[in-house]
């Protein structure tokens, strides 16, 4: 079968409309998980089918697309997703955060501050922040409806009681506009402050779990914490071995058999531009 047998951006137009309606609802109720009729995609579940469906539903021929995984444009999954979207839409792709109108990501938010008009699409494995605390969706829906988030506060408290600090380092639970507890997807805690009052639209797609949630531009997003144990960002004792950055998220590399370590920026575009 030739590629022309597939619609622009793979999905048929009815499906795109269905997804866009769900996105609109998600934008209207920031942090609320909107169920949507997730489709099978030609990538396996867990590879970013939710994010991919959002991207396919909203991308237009004039968009400029950037795809990252773990912060990098050249990781295999990012390459694969970028090729798929480019192949089914013909849109221009870029590795530069500043040039992109649409950025699909797994596990990171770029270091370069986002601008108004840009859209971030997050790939989300598990949209429900409380799934480890309460496995039943019926029960969790009730908890969200009542804004009953005591369980999560207790969990953070238990971390502090046991470890002296909150032991959640990624997928850190956040409160959106004082109403909904939201999973920011498995971005590191380091990236969480970037969600607050961001000028860009943030869309979160969970394909396997069939949920979309969103943060419209300039939404108040606060990590859950305590007055006496405020939220802390991760920090490194080293600087990037390539660009010398001390303000970015650093990946640790093992350089040789002796276990020599080196740290470099996870965001390859940011690192390269310096």
């Amino acid at each position: 079968m030739s590629e022309s047998a597939f619609n622009f951006a793979y999905l048929d137009e009815q499906t795109k409309r269905m997804i866009r309606r769900s996105i609109l609802k998600a934008v209207a109720i920031p942090g609320y998980q909107v169920p949507f009729a997730s489709r099978e995609m030609p990538l396996p579940y867990g590879w970013g089918t939710g994010g991919l469906q959002l991207t396919c539903a909203i991308i237009g021929p004039d968009d400029v697309l950037k795809v990252i995984d773990q912060g990098a444009d050249d990781t295999t999954n990012a390459v694969n997703i970028r090729r798929f979207i480019a192949r089914t839409t013909g849109v221009q792709t870029t590795t530069h955060t500043t040039e992109a109108t649409l950025i699909q990501t797994r596990h990171r938010i770029p270091e370069t501050p986002l601008k108004a008009g840009q859209i971030m699409v997050f790939q989300v494995p598990q949209p429900e922040p409380m799934f480890r605390l309460e496995p039943r969706e019926t029960e969790r829906r009730r908890m969200h409806a009542m804004a009953d988030y005591g369980l999560m506060q207790v969990r953070l408290y238990e971390d502090i009681a046991r470890h002296g600090r909150v032991a959640t380092t990624y997928d850190y639970p956040v409160m959106v506009e004082d109403r909904y507890l939201m999973s920011p997807s498995p971005i590191p805690k380091f990236d969480v402050p970037k969600l607050n009052q961001s000028p860009a639209l943030m869309l979160f797609g969970a394909g396997r779990e069939k949920r979309i949630h969103a943060l419209p531009p300039y939404t108040r997003v606060e990590p859950l914490d305590f007055d006496d144990f405020p939220f802390e960002r991760q920090r490194w004792d080293s600087a990037c071995a390539l660009c010398g950055s001390r303000e970015s998220f650093l990946d640790e590399m093992i350089m040789d058999d002796a276990g020599t370590r080196q740290f470099i920026c996870s965001d390859t575009d940011w690192c390269g531009a310096r």
Partner: protein, 373 residues
């Protein structure tokens, strides 16, 4: 510059090429054809159509070829293709009562109207390796070269003489005495929700549960069904009837206004009969579990019927204690595309999250060391 474990496009292309080479195998051997798979591996084709949720034997065979025989992967390929197809119309419900029977047995009665029709089954033979199949140059037996007339071999003289092309359902015969719960569609029965068009939400009604089970993973349902037989939910099951055969699929074309037959599909249907102690509202009676799958899929249809019945615990006022009775547990994990994808996504890089955990662990260990001093 040191480049970490990051693959470029060339690496991905090479990996893809290697898969193609590996799939083709030894080039001195003839290539496997899609038609051969469709005809000679039809049980694989049936499983891929069931879990791929698309009735298309040729494309299922193609998927099996492309996946080098990995049936879960083949179901995935088929589903990924299915999702691109427009939904043109809904068919009328298929009538399994009007099935062209190939095989039809009841375990609850020695003899049933219409007969016990064994059909193509290995149930009553020995599972001995047939070494004659190794000799692939032997001439085909002309007696096997044409399909036998359907239902030609019935088990008893009654059936042989009284045979009808569409035997009545055993469950209907039992239902007449009120011993078995009746399953009449209520007046004004609303169209069931469609799992492929709306997300599954809990609690899910039985039509949705059956949809999920029908395309659920055979191995998963087999294990869950088996667990109900070993004390994890008692359902006391009997196979009231198991039938395999072909049914017509019809649609009502809007411009015509009457049903038009599009073709036939092969189905396996299991009507399970289970005990029910009764409740304040209902007298004791037999209840039903239902299984329906594409192709000849007896193992799956029986397992599905067991799980369907177990999932009715709440409706029938039975205690819910076993995994097979918990619909969120059963339905959230029965789809092998979802399960296979998420389990295997652990292969994808997670170094950002891992780095975060590493950093935390070092701090915790430092705290720990400081406390001990």
């Amino acid at each position: 510059m040191y480049v970490a474990v990051k693959g470029g496009e060339r690496a991905i292309d090479s990996a893809d090429q290697w898969v193609r080479t590996r799939r083709r195998g030894d080039r001195t051997l003839a290539e496997l054809t899609v038609a051969q798979i469709q005809e000679q591996l039809h049980r694989s084709v049936a499983r891929v159509m069931a879990e791929g949720a698309l009735y298309d034997p040729q494309l299922a065979a193609l998927a099996i070829k492309q996946a080098a025989g990995d049936l879960v992967e083949a179901a995935f390929l088929l589903r990924a293709y299915r999702t691109t197809l427009p939904r043109l119309a809904d068919s009328l419900p298929v009538d399994t009562g009007g099935m062209r029977i190939e095989r039809r047995i009841s375990a609850t009665f020695k003899e049933v109207p219409g007969g016990q029709i064994l059909g193509p089954t290995t149930d009553y033979g020995q599972r001995l390796l047939d070494f004659s199949l190794l000799d692939e140059n032997a001439l085909p037996d002309p007696r096997e070269s044409v399909h036998r007339p359907i239902g030609a071999v019935a088990s008893s003289p009654v059936a042989a003489t009284g045979r009808v092309s569409t035997p009545p359902r055993v469950t209907e015969l039992m239902g007449r005495d009120g011993l078995l719960e009746s399953e009449q569609a209520p007046v004004g029965d609303p169209a069931p929700a469609d799992l492929t068009r709306e997300p599954l939400r809990f609690p899910a009604a039985r039509p949705l549960r059956l949809q999920a089970l029908a395309r659920g993973d055979e191995g998963y349902l087999l294990g869950l069904g088996y667990s109900t037989q070993r004390g994890y939910a008692h359902t006391h099951p009997f196979v009231g009837e198991l039938r395999v055969g072909r049914v017509e699929v019809s649609v009502i074309a809007p411009e015509l206004g009457f049903p038009v037959v599009l073709g036939e599909i092969e189905l396996t249907e299991c009507q399970m009969i289970n005990q029910f102690a009764g409740s304040d509202e209902a007298p004791p009676m037999f209840t039903r579990g239902y299984g329906l799958v594409f192709g000849q899929g007896e193992r799956k249809s029986i397992a599905m019927a067991l799980v369907d019945r177990a999932l009715r615990a709440a409706e029938l006022g039975e205690p819910e204690t076993a995994p097979a009775q918990d619909q969120e547990f059963v339905l959230s994990h029965c789809d092998n595309l979802e399960a296979s994808g998420f389990v295997q996504h652990l292969k994808l890089p997670h170094h950002v999250d891992f780095q975060s955990e590493l950093e935390l662990l070092r701090r915790l260990r430092a705290d720990h060391g400081a406390r001990e001093l």
